[in-house]
């Protein structure tokens, strides 16, 4: 069986599994990293949103064999460390989520937070701020309907992200 190696939340990991298994199942079923959630398996609900080399991606639609040894996969579990947070400290976007008490059932929220962080970084790369249109285009489904608080938290989290 092929060996799959990539960097997960800052540490290299190797898994014995076929190339065509999607990264979501490698994370959840083989590595026990359960922050990224299953909501559709076809990249429409975005519950599994994580980061690949700092950009948002959906592991349900990437074959593990397509990852390079140097590819850095970050899930919600590894998000605080990307800003140098130590111990129980959180990423500013997670803090904003706590302050606004965004979550209800919480199932979609890891994906929502990862999408929000990627959005802030993208608009920064484009040299601009977040617009209403940017928020409208976020596709992550929240079946509890926490959308209003998500919008407020993104703006708050963005202000706290340096």
């Amino acid at each position: 069986m092929p060996k799959q190696t990539f960097i997960l939340n800052g540490k290299p990991v190797t898994v014995n599994v076929n190339d065509d298994v999607r990264v979501l199942w490698v994370l959840r079923d083989l590595l026990g990293v359960t922050g990224p959630k299953y909501g559709c398996g076809i990249n429409v609900c975005k519950a599994c949103t994580s980061h690949l080399n700092g950009k948002a991606f959906n592991p349900c639609s990437v074959k593990v064999g397509d990852l390079k040894r140097s590819d850095k996969v970050t899930t919600i579990e590894g998000l605080p460390a990307t800003v140098g947070a130590k111990g129980e400290d959180l990423h500013p976007m997670q803090e904003a989520w706590l302050e606004l008490d965004v979550a209800q059932c919480g199932y979609c929220q890891p994906g929502q937070i990862m999408a929000a962080v990627a959005l802030v970084k993208r608009v920064r790369r484009e040299g601009r701020g977040i617009t209403e249109a940017d928020l409208d285009r976020i596709r992550n489904v929240c079946r509890c309907g926490t959308y209003v608080r998500i919008r407020e938290a993104i703006e708050k989290g963005a202000r706290a992200m340096r």
Partner: protein, 779 residues
Amino acid sequence: MTALEHDQQEAPEGGLGRRGFLGWVMAGTTLVVAADLGLTRTAATAAIPSLPQVPEIYDLEDLQTDAALPTANLITVTIGTDGTASFALPRMEVGQGIVTSTAMILAEELDLPVEKVKVTLAPARPELLFNQLTGGSNTTFSTFTPIRVAAAVARRRLLDAAAIQLGTTVDRLTTTGGIVSDTLGNTVTYGDLATSAASQVVEAVQVLLKSKPDYQVIGKPRNRTDAREAVTGRKKFTTDLDVPGALPTMVCRPPEHQGSPKRVRNKARVLTMPGVTHVAMVDTGVAVRAKTFGQCIDAIRELEVDWNRGTVSGESDQTVLAKLKAQELPMVVPQVPVLAQQVDTRFEFMFRSSAALEPYAAIADVREDRAEVWAGLKAPIVAQGNIAAATGLRQDQVKVNVVTGGGSFGHKLFGDHAIEAAKISKAMGVPVKLMWHRVDEPRQGRLHPMATSRVRATMLAGQVLSFEQRHTSVTTDFSHGLGEMITSLADELPTGLGGLGFAETIFTLTQELPYNFGVVTQLLNEPLEFEDKFSTGSMRNIYSPDTCVAAELTIDLMAKKAGKDPMQFRLDHVKNKRVRAVLEKVKKEGSWGRTMPKGMAQGVALHKEYKGATAVLVEIDCRPQTVNRDLGKETYTGPRVTKAVIAVDCGLVINPRGVEAQMQGGFMDGLAMTLSASNHLRDGRFLEGSWDNYFYTRQWNVPPEGVEVHIVDPGSDTPGGVGEAAVGSSAAAVACAYARATGTLPTRFPINHGQVRFKPKSFVPSLPASPTNGLKKTY
């Protein structure tokens, strides 16, 4: 109105006596106290007028009788030596916030910081009978008193122990933050007292509950106790649990709704596929167990299965609608004067999927002589019984663990997932972690039934003489326990309900038109021909979102006929002060009547249920540039609600922040039901397959000017329900605004149902392949 006035008006049995209750100290190594979960009902039926003293409600006779009651059906609170209080809530947390509000209630009565209260979810406890069902927005209403009684018993017992330890008397002690202090400044913690306060025998204790003016925790906004777990990804849902040997399992399902497998043609070949360990046929389909869910999907796509037809083979939306129409009950218009005007309306409501974002999932480990199941279950006792029946075990051999759910909306009232997982585990002889694919949910999962609602109102010279509503629905499945609950309470139900079926009884118990409209009749008919044809259930409200839309749209037409403003017409006819208060609140906060551009309009609606009332005012934009805005593939945009203002009276508020969240979420559900979310039935199959077909709201549907929530305090000292309270009036307000903005009365909901806006996913194979182009879609 002051709290006192309110009490005098609405609670004649009020006064001190309502706070006196009986609880128990249980035998244990640390302090364990208990209360009867049936307390609320007992208190409510003890309609003894104004008795100010404890003994007059609970005298010695009562005490002796009650103390002899079997204690098995009690809920217990345990004080640990670490100073924490632990409580296993016999309800299910699905995001509605009851773990947080329950911790607050306990903390209040115990004088303990909320952080030191540990609330978990109780496994199925058959001895609780009907008292372990999470539904009907009833949790806080039904558990408020019993939980406080248990906490008060604990506090009283801790004080007794502290008095001995500090060499003083209880009346010289105070409690704050889990610490007991005497007048000299000596202190002792609850943790220190946990062992000495313990009892070796069970004894009955009388307690007086804290009164409302003394509340420190209840009524103050508090963030969810599980928020940190949620935002760090540490919160565990069923599929996140690591049960040894329980490998991923999925089911290849029939193309037709509720079809069944006949024969698997290539089982041996599929068993050789990567990761696959087992293939087994059960009544609902062909199950595959593998090392990863991805390999289950791949294997299911390869399976060749012969299928039996489904229960609605050949049926489509139109044929079901025609059958409903043929069964609509007649109106019985009372005799009205010749000059009376009539408003006649008829509305159709399509099937909707109640599935949450977490699909049905359950872990099952079924052995020869026992079974253990883990799942999100709102009626775990019923599931336990069903699992026992399905596996040939006795109910006491089945352990059912209740796992916090990733949403429910009525879906997890049913144990479909847990029962199916148990059957598969039994068939395979190994533990399984079953998960439904998203595609399985709208096609085979529980649906809110299709229904029609007719209304006829008669008016004379601006006066409303009668208002009749006839609701006709595909059978709603109540086999999750509500049905049995009704049977057991048959003797206690209000007169006039005798002889009604479950559905009609529930309809009658939930429908209340909050207006003075002369002779009002609201009736339900669920034709028998639909029984067991569709997999149904209620979706965040039972009948109310549909009946409310029909009624409120009709009221707008009545107002028009009377030459009145819709808001004023409602205010002129509201039945009581509480309803008026929420309506006036949205009128003011939402600036009712403000000028809007052509193609935009306001709408207002009102709903009364769950011991409270909710009014919603929205503004909608139906201009072409908005309706046709393009946000790319797999989106449905449509009319946009630009602003929503909600006023809710839900009685005593435990956690205002939780209420606000429930209102905002309930609003999004109402919005989806009116504008965009439905299932299409074609030739016995439901076309929708995933979130790119089933248009629940997304960010592009969120009102850009916000969803404002105003809590109107009625001065009540008992809580109402909030989980479903906003849905009906939100759905109706959006419908009313849409009708006013477009100048056309919508008659079928959701309004976009007429057009199928997607290419249906394949039925054979039953699951779509996961894409592989994710690296091209990073951002």
